[in-house]
Subunit: 126 residues, 2 copies
């Protein structure tokens, strides 16, 4: 479906790009949890890098991490691996869709309900 | 799959919440395009509201729009309707997944390739 205001990109590809940044964030969390238990030094190094570099742009984050030191480079490669494996094997795409449907219905109802309640109170107060 | 750092929420529900904000943005674009052709006054009003209120939090945006004036309220209801219809009928969920897989593979390759190229140049320059 054509949606105005997206230029060349479709909403689907824009959403996929957003999700990629999100998956990089998830991969960093997973790698940190793994490091914490068996490689405390790597954990400290990655935590330190995360505290100084934004994860908003996942690719920029990984690109920076690769160039920090040979040890950081190893961590970056691990993050790339994990994000690829995570989206292909672990992330529940069907569940995402189901949750999104549910969430939008609930939010729509909530927004209307709150407004109706608010105006009822106003009328009672008058 | 358990992912650390998400508290009570799963990555799927976090992603669904992000997507809801994105779908609200898409719905606003669709409604604006519809208004532009048959209701220039409504178009101006919505454009004006968009320029003054962030769309980062879709529900907050709609909540504010509902309370702006009775005419804005009509626009808000239209946006709620459109975002619900859009995610259920028009948004291509399968395509999102396909694009996300493709994008992460391409990005991973690109990041590694760029790094390899960069270090090759450095070695050639030495």
């Amino acid at each position: 479906m054509f949606v105005p205001g997206f230029g060349e990109a479709s909403p689907e590809s824009k959403a996929a790009k957003n999700m990629q940044d999100f998956f990089t964030y998830v991969a960093v969390k997973i790698v940190l949890a793994q490091l914490e238990s068996y490689n405390p030094e790597g954990y400290e190094e990655l935590m330190d890098f995360v505290s100084k570099n934004s994860l908003n742009d996942g690719d920029k984050f990984c690109s920076g991490l690769m160039r920090e030191s040979p040890r950081h480079r190893g961590l970056a490669l691990r993050i790339l691996e994990v994000r690829s494996a995570y989206i292909k094997r672990d992330f529940e795409w069907d569940n995402l869709q189901k949750l999104a449907f549910k969430m939008v219905d609930e939010s729509n109802t909530k927004l209307m309900r709150e407004y109706v309640l608010e105006t009822s109170h106003m009328e009672n107060g008058e």
